[in-house]
């Protein structure tokens, strides 16, 4: 039984099946991009164990095709197992071994990237300095204690926690936050006399005049979710843990730009729903963004951002030019020129942390070499035969 299982995992038929399945998956994932945004497609097809149908339903769903992770994993096992079973050293097989070793590195690197790479963006207006980047795909609820004029104390609650409708406590807070309602995607409407029937879900701050309409999750090419939530602030006695009377319910939303404040126990807090932030141990100041065009045309020739890198820990302050195909790599982060805004006044840098970025470079060299050796070996053999045949 175990033997059959093992031999199934080492078979060439499995390899071919996986390769064909991968082709079908990639083809479907390519066509899907006409209607769905790239992140949606990645999650549905490539960064999943199965492709599900129907895609959205909360209830009954069936897997209709293996997803990218499953195919990749099976292929990886298949590769490793086949080599484990049949590895035999011979010069004539050097090419094959190299090729497959490179592929193993590449597949493993791809999996590693999927798990650990973090992508975010840093948007800078000229002259602005920031020490954090943001991920526009996710939000966080920031609760900021502004009592001390010297510094703010910030607690950020990730979207995933809010989604679970939890009661959120924090060591220094004399209150707890209860998530009453959560909207993955929503539309806010200002309530006036005319829309009767719609009721606000909050009773404090601007949220008391706003109705929230739930929308399906955004999946389109240029669509974004507007995450909203109704949160109730309930004071607690820090000694006993007993909950007191509620301070009220606030609406926090991606669509509400302004900060909301509340006070309790002699402290003042601000509430804001904002794109998830990643703080860096250094900061970046945009000196100048340049957008060059070819003379007499609107065709972009180059985008570049002249920035100053400030790192107090390492006593560093230097100017760097980031431009097309020339990113800045610093302390494990890579900054790429990704876009611009506001009549060339603001620059958008893509910030990527990918600990396994080196894997494809290594894999490429090994596989390329392997293919070259393998096919070269064939070619030499063929030429030799041919010469013998002609002689």
């Amino acid at each position: 039984m175990l033997r059959t299982f093992f031999s199934w995992f080492t078979s060439l038929k499995l390899t071919i099946t996986c390769l064909i399945a991968a082709m079908i998956l990639i083809f479907a994932g390519t066509l899907a991009q006409v209607h769905f945004g790239i992140h949606e497609v990645q999650q549905r097809y490539f960064q999943s164990w199965f492709v599900w149908w129907p895609t959205e339903s909360q209830g009954f769903r069936i897997p209709i095709f293996p997803g990218g992770h499953l195919i990749g994993a099976v292929l990886l096992i298949n590769l490793v197992a086949a080599h484990w079973k049949r590895f035999r050293w011979a010069w004539s097989r050097l090419g094959i071994h190299l090729t497959h070793a490179g592929l193993i590195i590449m597949l493993a690197g791809g999996l590693f990237t999927d798990l650990f790479a973090v992508e975010s963006q840093m948007r800078l207006v000229q002259g602005e300095t920031k020490n954090y980047s943001q991920d526009p795909r996710f939000v966080e609820l920031a609760v900021i204690d502004t009592t001390d004029p010297e510094f703010d104390q910030v607690a950020a609650i990730p979207e995933a926690v809010l989604r679970r409708h939890e009661t959120i406590k924090h060591g220094t807070w004399p209150f707890q936050i209860v998530v009453r309602q959560f909207f993955q995607n929503s539309r806010l409407r200002l309530l006036s006399g005319s829309n009767i029937g719609a009721a606000p879900i909050a009773n404090q701050g601007p949220g008391a005049q706003v109705a929230v309409e739930s929308l399906p999750r955004a999946t389109g090419v240029d669509e974004r979710n507007v995450v909203s939530a109704a949160i109730e602030i309930v004071p607690i006695d820090q000694a006993t843990g007993a909950a007191g009377p509620s301070l009220g319910t606030w609406l926090v939303s991606d669509a509400l730009g302004a900060l909301q404040t509340f006070s309790w126990a002699g402290h003042t807090w601000q509430l804001v729903m904002r794109p998830a932030r990643y703080y860096q141990p250094f900061s970046v100041r945009l000196q100048k963004f340049t957008h060059e065009r070819y003379p007499g045309t609107e065709i972009p020739k180059n985008f570049s951002s002249r920035i100053t890198l400030l790192d107090a820990e390492r006593a560093l302050s230097r100017d760097v030019l980031i431009y097309m195909n020339h990113p800045l790599r610093y302390r494990g982060e890579t900054f790429y020129q990704a876009g611009f805004q506001k009549d060339d006044q603001a620059s958008i840098l893509q910030v990527v942390r990918n600990p396994s970025f080196i894997a494809p470079y290594v894999a490429c060299v090994i596989v390329g070499l392997g293919l070259l050796v393998q096919f070269g070996y064939h070619l030499v053999g063929f030429a030799r035969q041919r010469r013998a045949a002609l002689a």
């Binding site: 065709i299 195909n325 096919f375």
Partner: protein
Amino acid sequence: MRRFLPALIFVCALLWAASSWRPPRAAANDFDLVTVGKIPVLVGGRIKPLDTVARNSLLIIHGKQTAQGAKGEPLSARRWLADTLFNAPVADQDPVFVIQNADVLGLFGWEQSDRKYFCFAELMPFLRQIDEQGALSEKLQSVERTAYQNAVLNLRNAMVLDQRLKNSVQPEDARSFTRELEAFEGGLPAAGKAARQRETGKSFDQTKLNDTAGLIALYQKLSEMAYILAVPPGSAQNSEWHSVGDSLLGSIPTDEIHPVVRMYARMGDAYRAGDHVAFNQHVDLLSNWMAQHQPTAVKRASFEFLFNQVDPFTHSMVLYVLAFLLACGSWLAWSRTLNRSAFYLLLLALAIHTFGLVSRMYLQERPPVTNLYSSAIFIGWGAVIVALILERIFRDGIGAACAGAIGFITLIIAHHLAGSGDTLEMLQAVLDTNIWLATHVVAITTGYSAMFLAGMLAIIYVIRGVFTRSLNKKTADSLTRMTYGVVCFATFFSFVGTVLGGIWADQSWGRFWGWDPKENGAVLIVLWCAVILHARWGGYIRQRGLMIMVIFGNVITSFSWFGVNMLGVGLHSYGFMQKAFPWLCGFILSQLALMAVAAVPLERWRSFQTTAESSRLRAGRPAMKFTPPRLAVETIPD
């Protein structure tokens, strides 16, 4: 006689190709438009000769590089441009605007008839309508537009281009631009004085200010309209090319008009007067001035003029067809003679093709592939070279036939891709890197070449096998060997190219792999190659299976090359072409049909019906000269 046939065919072809290298000369009693055609200007961010501007603009407006005048007389691109630049009222009578869409004609209350070319004067009354309708269509994504919306937008763009050309070197309604310029120059100091006096609150001469202010407003309009930047950088004050309007506005503070503006004005005046002697004099003056002040631009522009004149790709296209026919003929009769003739023709075609490719690289200062058009040129070139090497090794006409067919088809594709204007356009910012263009793009495109070549070999196998008796064992085996070798070649280049693309993406977008359509297309080719090779090594497929899979490789490669661009999404969709969609579908269907043909039982293949081979082919695997790698052989489960 037969011995000399290859040499004879080669010499005839050579003479025919060489005839286009003869420099054209204008008749003595006519406008010297040849010299005009060589004058460098800056359009679309690139210095090019007026000849190129003429050809590309006419291609955009008319769909062809030659037209017919108002009385049906032939109208060359250069003549049309000269009319448009210097004598707009005449140009307005030339029926150059192509309108084929019945709905667009209906917009003007016209019925569809045999006529599809219209002149500007006829369209004049509908300018506002065309502009409004075009603006509406422009708001839509190109994928969403209907045929009518595309047609009306194209018409609007063509008319805008025409109007901009008419206002490029002089105002379109100019009578005597030279005199107007003199008035402008003469009025400038006085007007400047008046303006300064006004600023300081002293009394000033209002009429002097008004005269010149009217001209300044006119030149402001001219500078907004201009399509061609005809005035080269002057000695010191400005370092860029300017349009005539811009240059005139720039002369306000200096009171001096650029000599080139004046020369164009005199040319225009002489042209309108029909005075070819004066025109040619001024053309020579301008040409000499350029040679003196802009020697590099003139050198490049003259070379591009020659390149346009020689038209290398059309010539090699014709030679490829001839070679293909000769190679096919060689399987029927006169095998050695025709085969050799085909080979010589192919060498000539390849030489011309190479000249074209290298010229483009020189003109653009780029590696060979920068857009879809040049990818077609390069795919053909690469496939022809590999096929000719195969022909040298096997000498059976198969390589030659493949070279001819692929060379011809890819150049035809390139020809149709050129419709959008300048094929040497400037590159988007992210592509502005010669290292990656030279490695990633070339490797990927070489992979495409090899895939199509392998596909072509497989098609020859199937067609000769099913429909003729000419596929004997020797030919079948050598075809298989060629196909297998070319697939290996394709695997290598596609893989390396794909990974290099990933590395480029890592360098410029911050991720190695982003599941972008073009990336997916490339990896589909690699995966399919891997499937073919593993299936072959595992013994799951034999000759016919290999051929069927390789033909399917054509489908995948065409999807990767063209199909993904048609999705209109992703980071690589620089060129969207809807018109090619039916052709792509047709191609894919044809390949599927060939696969179906290949799938008929072997005993129905005409080549295998009578030979003793057939039984062996049916019974077991044919003799393969390649030893499949052990790893795979051992995995055969049963």
